[in-house]
C-alpha cells in the first residue's frame, strides 16, 4: 500500500493526447477539521485558488464525518469560471450523505472562487477535499487548492 505524503494527482493516462501528465483527479487537496465546543457556527467557507475569470470547469468534493450529528459526509460543488465575463455558470450543489450540505459557490472580494456549506453541528467535524478537472480546454488538470477556511454563524459570503 502506497503512502503518499502530499495530495495525490491522478492523470488521465494519456487518453487525450498531450494531456498525459495532467492531474484530472486530485485526492486529498486539503483537510479541515473543527471542534467548535461552543457550537456557535453552522457554516463553513473555503477559498479556492480558482479565479473568477480563469475559464476553468471544476468539481470539488468533501468527504468525512460529522461526529456530533452522527452523519457521514460526501458532498460536491461544481462550477464554471467563465473567462469572458468573470461570472460563475453551471453552479451545482450536491450531497450524497446528510452530514454536510453545500450552501453556495460565490466570488470572494479578491476575485477567487469560494465555496460554503452548512452542517448541523460543527463539534468534531472533519472533511478531506478532492478535486476533479476533467474538461479539455477548460482547466483540464490544473491544480486546485484551498487557500483559506473559516467557520461562521451566518450563511452569507465570508471571503
Amino acid at each position: 500500500m502506497a503512502n503518499l505524503a502530499q495530495s495525490t494527482k491522478i492523470g488521465n493516462g494519456g487518453i487525450n493526447g498531450g494531456y498525459e501528465a495532467s492531474a484530472t483527479m486530485q485526492l486529498g487537496i486539503y483537510n479541515y477539521r473543527l471542534a467548535d465546543a461552543d457550537r456557535t457556527s453552522r457554516y463553513l467557507h473555503f477559498k479556492t485558488n480558482v479565479l473568477r475569470n480563469s475559464g476553468r470547469m471544476v468539481r470539488v468534493d468533501a468527504v468525512g464525518y460529522d461526529y456530533a450529528g452522527a452523519r457521514p459526509i460526501r458532498c460536491s460543488w461544481v462550477w464554471y469560471s467563465y473567462s469572458v465575463d468573470g461570472n460563475l455558470y453551471s453552479v451545482g450543489l450536491h450531497n450524497a450523505y446528510p452530514g454536510m450540505v453545500p450552501n453556495s459557490v460565490y466570488i470572494g472580494a479578491d476575485n477567487y472562487v469560494c465555496i460554503s456549506a452548512s452542517a448541523r453541528d460543527l463539534y468534531f467535524i472533519g472533511v478531506t477535499f478532492d478535486a476533479y478537472t476533467p474538461s479539455n480546454s477548460y482547466g483540464l488538470g490544473q491544480t486546485v487548492a484551498i487557500t483559506a477556511s473559516a467557520a461562521t454563524a451566518s450563511a452569507g459570503n465570508y471571503f
Binding site: 503518499l4 487537496i29 486539503y30 468527504v63 461526529y67 452523519r71 457521514p72 460526501r74 450524497a96 468534531f124
Partner: protein, 142 residues
Amino acid sequence: MKVFPSNGGYLSQYVAGHCQTQDGTATKVHIKLNLPKTSLYSAMVMIEAVGFAYGSAQAIRSSWCFYQYLSTLYSVNVNNVYPGMNAEAVYYSTDNFVCLRGGLSGYFSGFVLNAYVNAGDGAGIPISVQAQAWNTNAGNFY
C-alpha cells in the same frame, strides 16, 4: 493507498480493504476491522464500500460511521447511495474489535473499503480488514 492532504497529516485511505464473494446463498457480509474495543483507543471513522453487485446489476456505495471511544461506540450511522448493498450495523465482536454488517442484493458482490479518519480523535490511524464472512446471519457474527 493512503493520501495525506497537503496541509496536514490526516489521511484518506483508499482500498483499506477488499471484500468479495461468489456465494449465491449469502445475504449478509460481516467485516471485522483492526480497531480494538479498549479504553486506550479512540477514533472517529467514516468507512465507505464502493463496488458492484453483479447478481442484482446494482452499484454499491454504502457507508458506516462511528466513534470508538473508551469501550463504547458513539454516533453510529449507516447510509446508502446506491441499492447494491445496505450498510446495516456497527458492532463489537466477541474478541473486542469493531465490525461492520451489510445486507447484500445479489451474488458475486464485491467492493473496496475506503476509510476516512479525519474528524478528530484518532485522525490518520491506519484502517484495515482482518476478517470477512459471507452468510445469512442478520445479527452479530463475529
